[in-house]
Symmetry: C2
Subunit: 242 residues, 2 copies
């Protein structure tokens, strides 16, 4: 009888802890639930050609000017950043609007984490919007998984960890839940799952910050599972689904 060793699954709770994880030849999942990875997933499922994640507003403007059929997007303090055209909400990019366009998106936490990853087999985008599709993909790869929470300026946040916990929960029978972060994330998800996740998240830093900007509907959308069943991945400098 051959017993196959299960690949490991780990959760990195903050970019400031990334150096503790071996991302070489692993599948790394970037998680920024409120709202970068939710928006990327929605825009690509709705037909965007690709998403180009950039760190600064200036870079976003420059690339947008050079790129035909592109949209520049990003927010600062809950409002469209000066010089850009659109915001960072999954609800802003319906199919008729975003189809075949390139979305040049500036986000701080998610983009920074994305650019920190070294040597990964694949870098993919995770959000509740593509939870089941992502889990099916991770299962199919049979490789080590590192779930990377973008967090908020390196500070642990509840919604990214909750999503990491959802993935750990779904995959626990096929993966070795390797570190205590993954175990804690799974416990957190189990503690939350008796209610709508947005209720659980109402007592969180990001919910409080973003609801002051009137973004409650957007956040509720971001924690609704499986509305956009695609698995975006990084291909060169672009995030694509095909």
């Amino acid at each position: 009888m051959i017993i196959e060793e299960k690949p490991s699954l780990e959760v990195c709770l903050s970019p400031a802890l990334l150096h503790l994880y071996d991302t070489n030849d692993a599948v790394v999942v970037i998680i920024d639930i409120f709202r970068a990875t939710s928006t990327i997933t929605a825009a690509l499922h709705n037909g965007a050609k690709c998403v180009i994640p950039v760190a600064s507003v200036a870079e976003c403007i420059t690339i947008g000017e050079q790129m035909p059929n592109s949209l520049t997007a990003g927010e600062r303090d809950g409002k469209i950043a000066p010089g850009l055209q659109y915001g960072n909400s999954p609800l802003e990019y319906p199919p008729l609007f975003v189809k075949d366009k390139t979305l040049v998106l500036t986000t701080t936490n998610g983009t920074r984490l994305l650019h920190m990853i070294e040597g990964a087999a694949t870098i993919v985008i995770g959000s509740f919007l593509n939870l089941s599709a992502l889990c099916a993909y991770l299962l199919s790869q049979k490789k080590r998984v590192v779930l990377g929470c973008a967090s908020w300026k390196d500070k642990f946040n509840l919604e990214d960890t909750l999503f990491a916990g959802a993935v750990a929960y779904e995959l626990q029978h096929a993966f070795e839940i390797k570190d205590d972060s993954a175990r804690a994330a799974k416990h957190l998800y189990q503690a939350a799952s008796g209610q709508h996740l947005i209720e659980f998240l109402k007592d969180s830093s990001h919910y409080k910050r973003l609801s002051a900007y009137g973004l409650e509907k957007e956040m509720e959308y971001c924690v609704t599972p499986d509305l956009h069943p695609v698995v975006p991945y990084l291909k060169g400098k672009e995030i694509v689904v095909h």
Copy 2:
């Protein structure tokens, strides 16, 4: 009517995240459940004169030689470190043995965190063994609290976070639970509290590592609340209770 503002309570999950926290004039709690802060609490409650925490075995030996009536203690890989006299277990220091002695203790994670704290009003030692005494002390101080998890080589661990969650849970009505780490720790503690904590911790990195050395009894002791109701604090280079 005067509404008093509640002091904040935050949880730093790893020394690698400490730079994100303002420890100036805060009460900082050092947490290293398996087993440094448990051992320190037990030894001092059992009558030790003081505990001197040091980072290396060599430093431990040097200070032990200079200090009358002292014991040198510390472990590496679950065994008494070569050159030292005793280990790092709260059960090793009963009253008749430890009374009036100075315990020179080398630990890696706890000592390192302790030495990283800057500007704190007070640095105190937290463990399940002094949970209620610690909470009563924190309530009495009416100052900001930062709970610092020593973790394991900067990696998040379950038992330190669980203890931070127990403190957050006990103090939530008198303090503002300020960051998502504190919220998550509290959720974790609530998820664990329907059972003996050691059952919850059996699926954790440290439990697995230390049980391979036969330290199950020690770990069970370390998560038993209120066996040693004292609040050790740092006074110069010594940890004392008086």
